[in-house]
């Protein structure tokens, strides 16, 4: 063994490069799987947990659930390529110290084989494995509706997050999709997919209110997906979530949008600073998309003290102000 700082073990290196190759992170799905991977099965799960630890004393839960049905076209695959950067973006600028990220996928409980897939909260790149195990549906209801309400039900009643329980701070839930939710969480579907015995259906607005008590909830609607730009769908989500329903004109900027939203929510910085940070890490194109998507959210947040790298001098004049 040499004295260099890094391991020169030949077997570990081979494994690291193979793992990092990631030609298809959706290996499970591409292998022809049509049932939920055991690690992503919401059935019989008491709770997905995000916990403080000595290593991560200030855990902050961030959940990203995306629509994997046919109407989304190539979006799920793009998300699969982009989402592994999210942890790095959150940490790189010190917006949060101990993010714990959960990925999940939403289908249509009325016709899909895999209507809900929910990973675990992870604070390292194990979350990429969950992404890789997600089954892409490809089908689609054709009714401009997917089972977002079922996913919200799970997040409302089957998650346990220390940031909220110990510190009264809500987690962040991002739902990425391009259709409307069904008007009710159906007791029958909950029983079949999650395993709870409900006496009656839960109206959509009730479950939205419930999930928002613990989760600062956002709906991101990407351009380039089937119904994107459809005002009716955006209005539907604006009616439920207000300004937290956001239209995203460039999917490449999805991680930057999520990270910036969390930074604003944590009052780690204001929008201008966050955009300058993006340019700072070479994500200048993303900054334009993010500023367009988040202008409404960032506008009413006041600047706050931030303890991170100094903003690059000379960048401020390049920031797009909306």
């Amino acid at each position: 063994m040499g004295s260099g700082a890094w391991s020169t073990d030949v077997y570990r290196a081979a494994s690291a490069y193979r793992k990092a190759t990631g030609a298809s992170a959706f290996a499970y799905s591409d292998g022809g799987a049509r049932t939920v991977h055991p690690t992503l099965d919401p059935g019989g799960v008491a709770a997905r947990e995000s916990r403080d630890s000595t290593e991560h004393p200030q855990s902050l839960a961030v959940a990203v659930l995306f629509d994997v049905t046919g109407s989304m076209g190539g979006v799920p695959r793009t998300l699969q390529q982009k989402l592994p950067q999210l942890l790095g973006l959150l940490l790189r600028k010190g917006y949060v110290t101990d993010p714990q990220i959960l990925f999940g996928a939403i289908g249509d409980a009325t016709c899909d084989r895999v209507p809900l897939q929910i990973g675990q909260f992870e604070s390292d790149n194990r979350m990429d494995d969950h992404l890789g195990n997600i089954v892409l549906e490809g089908g689609g209801g054709g009714q401009m509706m997917e089972s977002y309400e079922l996913a919200m039900y799970f997040m409302a009643r089957h998650t346990s997050i220390d940031c909220h329980q110990r510190r009264g701070k809500r987690g962040y839930l991002f739902v990425i999709g391009d259709e409307m939710a069904y008007p009710k969480v159906k007791a029958r579907e909950v029983r079949k997919i999650i395993g709870d015995d409900l006496d009656e259906d839960v109206p959509l607005r009730a479950i939205v209110d419930e999930v928002r008590r613990r989760w600062d909830t956002y709906y991101l609607m990407p351009a380039g997906s089937h119904y994107a730009g459809n005002r009716r769908i955006l209005d539907f989500w604006r009616d439920l979530l207000g300004q937290n329903a956001v239209e995203l004109d460039d999917l490449d900027a999805v991680c930057e949008t999520i990270a910036t939203t969390v930074a604003l929510g944590e009052e780690a910085c204001d929008l201008d600073t966050a955009l300058a940070d993006l340019r700072d890490v070479g994500a200048g194109d993303a900054a334009t998309t993010v500023s367009r998507a988040l202008a409404r959210i960032g506008a009413d947040r006041s600047p706050a003290v931030r303890g991170t790298l100094p903003a690059a001098s000379g960048h401020a004049d390049q920031v797009t102000r909306l």
Binding site: G2, S3, G4, A5, W6, S7, T8, D9, V10, Y11, R12, A13, A14, A16, Y17, R18, A20, T21, P84, Q85, L87, G88, L90, L91, R92, G94, T97, D124, N125, D128, D280, V281, G282, A283, R306, G307, T308, L309, P310, A311, A312, S313, G314
Partner: protein, 439 residues
């Protein structure tokens, strides 16, 4: 004018910046490159010497740290790294380093590295041979890092046509053939080597080639003709293979020589601001001359402990004679970065302006190693003279170093993070940076 160059060189002399250590290494190149990449748009960091044995520590304000060995020290700011053909590339250590970066929030470092196909490979066989030789030297160790970098360079000198290079990783059969040849030659010379089977090395190296972008020499030219680039040097000028104090040197050109070559090939000779890095105490890792060594100097070193191959981390007072020699052999610099100024006041730091026999070491023609060995013998018998101690505050030190070396100090470092750096150009610039750092 590139803002990065202007920030370190006043009027500046070039669009790119080259960072070189004017001592024995460990002066803080990593933290200076990190600051440059935090301060302005930088298209790429280009490495132009050394290999996986580099250890450039960077500390972020949030406490995350990384010891950059092959990735450029601008990686935390998203700046891509290019390993030029002068770097000895260690694909195994690169994987280990990428894994650590992923764990601290940089999952895509491998996506942002390009490697010149002509670069030599450091392999487990070089490494095992390197270590076998150092062990055989016993007490007379040269201070090799045991990473096989020098072994790879010397093997390539002896066998230029069959030495394994990065591009070979794209051709499994060729790679296997060259690795076998290498292993067999080294085994014949040194006996059995403690290294994995060739087949396993081939597996790892071809996986490396599938994952990392391997480019030809025109890539460097493209980078240099586009935006500002930071050249990140490894080790220090006083360890240079030709001008260092033989035999306590490295198998690598640690001057600006390779930078000048790459710029000339791109048709941009001289388009660079040369920044020399010095530390208020002169450190040295391992054996060899250190005229001003003072066992009473024990600044806390978070990252540089004793290691089995290089031995103890030693400290001497600021050795202006040695640094003057470094400036002479490398053709001078446009500006200096002076690091570890936070130590001023904590220790009685002195500045050696002359030895008992001279205040300027003679510069010989490159390659005359007998002459260099004689100089080494002379240095090992030299005694430092401390004529006037600098005022014990940062300004006093900056003034004393500028006077002793005749070069302006354009950047000072007062702590581990980019926020602890102050550019000294004009009053307005200092004020702006101080304000930014305090935000």
């Amino acid at each position: 004018m590139n803002p990065v160059a202007s920030s370190v060189a006043g009027d500046g002399t070039g669009r790119h910046v080259a960072v070189v250590d004017l001592g024995y290494g460990d002066a803080g190149k990593g933290t200076v490159v990190d600051w440059l990449c935090a301060s302005g748009p930088v298209d790429a960091v280009i490495r132009f010497n050394g290999g996986g044995q580099a250890a450039h520590n960077v500390v972020l304000p949030d406490g995350r740290t990384h010891t950059f060995a092959q990735f450029g020290a601008g990686t935390f700011h998203g700046v891509p790294t290019h390993l030029s053909r002068f770097v000895v590339v260690d694909p195994l250590a690169l994987a280990g380093e990428a894994t650590h970066l992923a764990g601290i929030g940089v999952p895509d470092a491998l996506d942002r590295v390009t490697v010149d196909r002509e670069a030599l490979l450091a392999t487990p066989y070089h490494r095992a041979a390197n270590q076998a030789r150092e062990i055989a030297r016993g007490a007379d160790r040269h201070g090799s890092c045991g990473m096989g970098v020098g072994e790879s360079m010397s093997y390539a000198l002896a066998h230029p046509d069959t030495a394994p290079r990065v591009g070979d990783c794209l051709d499994e059969g060729l790679l296997r053939h060259r690795l076998r040849l290498l292993r067999d030659r080294l085994t014949a010379e040194l006996g059995p080597l403690d290294a994995p089977p060739v087949a396993d090395t081939v597996t790892a190296f071809t996986a490396f080639a599938r994952r990392v972008a391997i480019v030809d020499g025109s890539w460097t030219t493209r980078l240099l003709r586009a935006g500002p680039v930071v050249f990140e040097g490894a080790q220090g000028v006083l360890l240079d293979e030709w001008h260092g104090f033989h035999p306590y040197t490295t198998w690598s050109t640690t001057t600006f020589g390779n930078v000048d070559t790459l710029l000339a090939e791109a048709g941009l000779p001289g388009a660079v601001t040369r920044l020399g890095v010095l530390r208020v105490v002169t450190p040295r890792h391992g054996p060899g001359p250190l005229v001003t060594e003072d066992p009473a100097l024990r600044p806390e070193e978070r990252h540089n402990g004793t290691n089995a191959w290089q031995g103890r981390f030693r400290f001497g007072h600021f050795d202006a004679v040695a640094h003057r020699y470094a400036l002479d052999v490398t053709g001078g610099v446009d500006a200096l970065a002076l690091t570890h100024l936070d130590l001023v006041g904590q220790y009685r730091l002195r500045l050696c302006d002359g030895y008992d026999w001279t205040d300027r070491l003679p510069v010989g023609p490159p390659g005359d190693l007998d002459r260099q060995a004689a100089l080494t013998a002379k240095l090992l018998a030299s005694r430092p003279r401390y004529t006037a101690d600098p005022e014990p505050d940062p300004d006093g030190w900056v003034a004393a170093v500028e006077a002793a070396l005749g070069v302006p100090v354009r950047l000072t470092s007062h702590g581990p993070t980019a926020a602890d750096k102050v550019a000294r150009r004009a009053a307005d610039k200092v004020a702006r940076l101080t304000a930014a750092a305090g935000r």
